[in-house]
Assembly symmetry: C2
Homo-oligomer: 400 residues x 2
Amino acid sequence: MNPPSASALLGAITAASRNEPDSGIMSAVNHGNGRTDIIPVWSGEGNVPTPEAFCRPAIESLLQGETFYTWQRGIPPLREALARYHERHYGRPFDPENFFVTGGGMQAIQTIIQMIAGAGDEIVLPTPAWPNYAGPMRLSGARPVEVPLDFENGSWHLDLDKLFGAITERTKAIVLNSPSNPLGWTASLDDLKAVRDECRKRGLWIVGDEVYARFYYGGAHETRAPSFLDICDSEEQLLLANTFSKNWAMTGWRVGWLQAPKALGPAIERIIQYNTSGTAAFLQRGCAAALDDGEDFIAEQVKQARANRDLVAQSLRRHPQVRFELPKGAFYMFFAIEGMKDSLATTLSIIDEAKVGFAPGGTFGPGGEGFLRMCYLRDPAKLKEALDRFGTWLETSKPS
Amino acid sequence: MNPPSASALLGAITAASRNEPDSGIMSAVNHGNGRTDIIPVWSGEGNVPTPEAFCRPAIESLLQGETFYTWQRGIPPLREALARYHERHYGRPFDPENFFVTGGGMQAIQTIIQMIAGAGDEIVLPTPAWPNYAGPMRLSGARPVEVPLDFENGSWHLDLDKLFGAITERTKAIVLNSPSNPLGWTASLDDLKAVRDECRKRGLWIVGDEVYARFYYGGAHETRAPSFLDICDSEEQLLLANTFSKNWAMTGWRVGWLQAPKALGPAIERIIQYNTSGTAAFLQRGCAAALDDGEDFIAEQVKQARANRDLVAQSLRRHPQVRFELPKGAFYMFFAIEGMKDSLATTLSIIDEAKVGFAPGGTFGPGGEGFLRMCYLRDPAKLKEALDRFGTWLETSKPS
């Protein structure tokens, strides 16, 4: 027999799987991958590998033979360390039973979506946003309802009336990512209270992504952004996705967690069972060490990120055609270039011409076209070099 | 505010998430967990930890800082090692581009289901089967159509007419697990050809789970079971889920792979991106070592499994109320006890009374009630002790 054509094969998978667009971030990465002359700032990760102190407990566990199936919800010592970490930073008691270990923050998000939204259901989220919220919603048959923030007078505004106006009878949740990837925009406590109250009133899930909470450039004594954990009860309709990736430089480990009301425990366990069936126990030993002993490392990372943010801002301000808001959190600069209509084409041109790899703003949903995203949690010397190259490009070239 | 009740919270998740039954295997595990006097044979894993030779390359990679985001489809060296492994065992060339690394064989199965079946679609599968096929189908909104094999005159028969008769216009695939968990039943090449031809004729996906292919108790020179890879083209509607868990004693690593036509590559990458966003690169280094250097270890494991199978059979044959077919593959004994109507209740009684932990047959779907499953890839001394305890129980107790 002759094997079927590519189009016949694609015709035999679901429309949602077939039609889901490729991430513009991946398009940039694939365009520049393998070229050693390019300085990449496209991905959401720092340049520092995982500290050895977090690796050692994982290695020890592996060599001691902790290589069997494990708890679907995560090993008790890691869930206890999560409770301790939250107690330290949110100033109240937390119960290990509210924490569920996942194969990365992304898997926590997918688990949330699978649990709360079926075919035809809607989830409201402000954009520009990380494309990995809307993507898994579409794959599940749910509909992301995207409400763009306004970029006015050089700053981003969340219009709460517009956000709440997008709620229908099919809406199951509001997703709020603060500090925001890609914007750096950070919700105030009043914003969070308004979202909480609307969700309570309408019986919706509050879905929070506070992955960048520690990367917050507030006052001298503020070590985290305002949080739903400041104003919500652990047992209400609140679901938080989080990860070890950013704070502890563990992107490549693929371990995160989900915080949820205890009553959902068995449902979450079943979803995990049918996905990865748990996270390697030996990796979780390293994550527990990171939580307990990682504060100095985080402080150092955040200090570097803040200095880098200021460096990027200073450099970009020299170019009148570039506009941005100085980010309050996370580690991205999201900037507009005057006259840019096609951020993906521009991104690819800049890779080829300036040897700097940004992520195209259009991939972050409504309101993102016309912008580029740069991750600035990088080696400062490399970052300076990237900014110089890009500055030269701006002076000599036009965006698409 | 008073937080909502547990039932209100459960009412706010999807019906599929809420109503999915707990696995009977997990019910047994939870009943016996933490009791050191119990000999557990409930899970599908051996008693030997991962050999150090497979751990060392992972440790080296981790310490060298390979801790960043990686290829969504897996690192090239592992995909090349997979092609080499298949060339060795299936006697023809394989292309690394047909292999996609996943967070366990389970995630490979979930990825397949998400890709080929949406709400209302059907997938046909013979039972008794591992509950982790039907579960993720139901969670995706798809419908598992379960066709029981017949247990007649002490052996299992797959009635192909009955299997194909279950196909409707909504059917997207036939799933075949051979050697079978829990039965040990193994498809002949003629069975596989018949399934292949029916799928080709009806435009269905052939979904194969050949995780236990190497645990095959055939003739002296047979080192694997008959496979769809013997009779199918890599670029046809064929999807195979597999794992490092069983052959290489890596259950706790949570790494597997998916074999698929190349045309599906971008769709598979997107599904992986929206789930775990890839598998830890440093773990993949250990998996590559297992593929290249693991043959002696596999041979030793299979030899032990075969001896254990014969030990179990010999012991159970002493009890006329027990019936089973000597398994041709995998490492489970699936046996009936005369008069048993409730396999879960019986399993829990045996845990309490005989201190042996089986898995209840009812959890494996239609045709499974009335049976118990035991994993025999265990330490032989422990296995003998478990069989003695169970033998005494059989002589003194009645099943529920």
